[in-house]
Amino acid sequence: MSNNLQLPKAVEDAVLGLDQASRRSFLKASGALVITLSVGILPGANALAAEPSAATGPYPDPDFLKLDTWIVIHPDNTATFFVGKTDGGQGTGTAYRQMMCDELDIAYDKTKLIMGCTDITPDQGGSGGSDGVERDGQTMRRVAAEARRVLLELGSQHLGAPVEMLAVANATIALKSDPAKKVTYAELIGGKRFNVALTGRNVDAATGTAAVKPVGELRVVGQSLKRYDIPTKVDGSLKWAVDMKLPRMVHARNVRPPFAGATLQRIDESSVADVPGFIRVVNRGNYVAVICEREEQAIRAARQLKVEWKRPAAAPFPASSELFAYMRRATPTSTSEPQIQGDPATALAGAKRVVEAEYEVPFQGHTAIGPAHALADPADGQMTIYSNDMKAYGLRDGVAKFLDMPREKVRVVYMDGPQVYGRTAADDAGFEAAFLAKELGRPVRVQWMRDEETAWDTKGPPYVYKLRGGLDDQGKVVALEYDACAVDHAHVGYNEPDTVLIAQLMGRRPARPASGAAATPSVMYAIANRRTTTRVVGLPMTWETPLRTGNLRDPNGPQVTFAFESFIDELAAAAKADPVQFRLDMLEQAKEDGVFRKSRSLAAVRAAAKTYGWDTRPSPRPRGDALRDKVLSGRGIAYTYRSNTIAAVIADVEVNRETGHVWTKRLVCAHDCGLAINPEGLRHTVECGMLHALSRALWEEVQFDNEKVTSVDWASHPTLRHSDTPETIDVVLVNGDPNPNRPDLPHYGAGETSHKPVIAAVANAIYDATGVRLRRPPFRSERVLAALKATIT
């Protein structure tokens, strides 16, 4: 560590990644030069003495009501932005920079962005819910606009001309009438503080007095700039959370109970005495970890350690093969009030035709490519955690409570890591590293093993659904009943000190388990008579089980949309209607809402059909001679929205009748998230969101006997591969807003919507190809073949 710097060297390396010159100027601006503020004194005026070093803590919260917290202008006329978000790989960091550059009037390549470090970036909650661009981006735009306003005032003083006579470009202010008379941002404030207060009751409302630019004046937004992080990820130069090392650091590996609900009886430490580098076993309740000097030693010791466990009195859960039967008969832990519109009972009784179907979705896991990991440093009586936690701020608060330390003594340094999608919102490894570091008084690095991650990560809840729909003699839907049941009792929250796995194993329990939820569909269809009921059930064992539900990329959307949009397809088939036209007819009858979701849904469904080249006909495809073909092909559509973003997906599949193998040859997504900040980055995110769901459609399922997860690696828990990849993916960015050129066109979130409709689109395409309806993913070959054999003769 260097004494004259504000941050320890390790943190500097971790978060800044700046070249030496701009790092020095950043450090100056963030502490070495401090300017007092009082009303009436111009910003950037008098520079005062340095603040004390923050290297050894404590780490108070950055004040989101200070402009200086968000933006630093450096003496070389570059800028660094500080935001309380994280980037799970969708390029949101690049998008944030684009938005802030536009409002500040500075070139993109003259800026840096620092995210998610609890002591130097304002708490915007980290990531989650696909709201970074939608909500937090608005805050970022406002504070950058305020910085520009302040700089214009300073420029006005400097140039002796009113603001109206000034023009700004590339961080330089000039007289409109005489562009040679100019001053740079750096000359006005480089290396100094703005000392401007913002207002707002919370970080999301933080604002200055400047207005953001109208959409028509945005120049950086809308460009497909290349992501700044990718070059460092392809040449191996980026330092990830998993790469962090500190002097005296040791390695830990967990020793998990071999079955759920196990009680520790005895640990035989002598069983690892021969492991070189062995330091100690740490045990608290049913939590066990081994610590060694080197990583491979810790891995060996964790495997070798002899531990005796006692089985619980009763089986902790039914086997996966019995799960849905269990769910159907289980007493709910919570039941929602039925939502009723119109008179569904009478409408169903009077319907020309009633269609009924049940659907099932198994537990599906995150199974991140890189298992959970963190490094914790207990130096100076503080706790610094280097982590890829998408919700770094929550990890800080949770660890402070867990270790009974003041918040100010804990900080989290966010660094890149394997995909998040909700997994790191309950950052088990961060808690474990911090606990072990405190125990040992040395920096401890923890990483989970593959089988541990696949078995014990948080999982998306399984569902059973029952749907009934009535058609009139015109083939129109007159009534629809939707009933959903999810295993979601004790849903794991965000970095809670009593629900993360280590807390559970230590015997900590929340006062009341989270009630969880069973979700309802997100569609704009006009159906006059509806009944919607949901209930949540629990498994026999609530805690210390690997079957713990948490948020997995739109936590319920893929399951719900699978069931609902499959059923809509079944209704269309019963009505002998074209599946696209059937949906458009129901959308046409819908009422418009404040964010134009009706017209935007119509536009998305139409754009998907047009891009695909959809020919209007009912499903299944008339087979005729094709019945003799080995490979049957078909297409299917599904549509949904998430919050304010719309997606319509069409899948084109080939089904091998002899093997049951399904290949999704083509995917089309028409996507509307309002104003696109970075169209190429958006397209890639939409693509990958679809393929992630394709993996859930074709491969993913958590399997277990009645005491442990048995799908624990990439052989027993298969995932989508290169050979499954579609030949063609078309992403069409539509904007169905009635006035897409309006000056305040909002930018909505895009991280999850395209993930929702894919399982249904594939199921509908399989039906179109084969006439066989699959009501339970994943559609692995053996399940498809069995269904084909049972149906096609």
Binding site: G89, D235, E295, E296, P371, D416, G417, S695, T725
Partner: protein, 159 residues
Amino acid sequence: MSNVKLHVNGAIREVDVDPSTPLLYVLRNDLDLHGPRFGCGVGQCSVCTVIIDGAAVRSCVMPVSAVRGEITTLEGLAKNGKLHPLQQAWIEEQAAQCGYCQNGQIMTAKALLDKNPNPSDAEIRAAMDGALCRCMTYYRVQAAIKRAVRGTKVAGEAR
């Protein structure tokens, strides 16, 4: 512990480790080469891939004492400050999402192109099938490989 001599990215490096230590931990923890990463520890995902004498090898299951030949890691692909055509193609196609697995994607592709400079689409899919990605960047990764192949061909024709 014993001394093991490794040829890595054009240099000779000596480490004092247990000879059974998987190469992955030596590269990452002793030699500070972080391109290869831990993904599964059982040779199933390719995140830890390095190239040894032209072959893509899963370093998580390769004992360091069993290594024979020249090791190339992701850090060793660029030559004289110039990125390898695959790395350049990766940037052009913006192939990564989180990027954690991309070492395995790039190194597996490198081993493929070194053996077969002009693979068909089917050959690319087959050769890459063991390189897993949970962000599902496969479509762009395949596009990047095709772009690198075209680039290689153009450069070859120019010569």
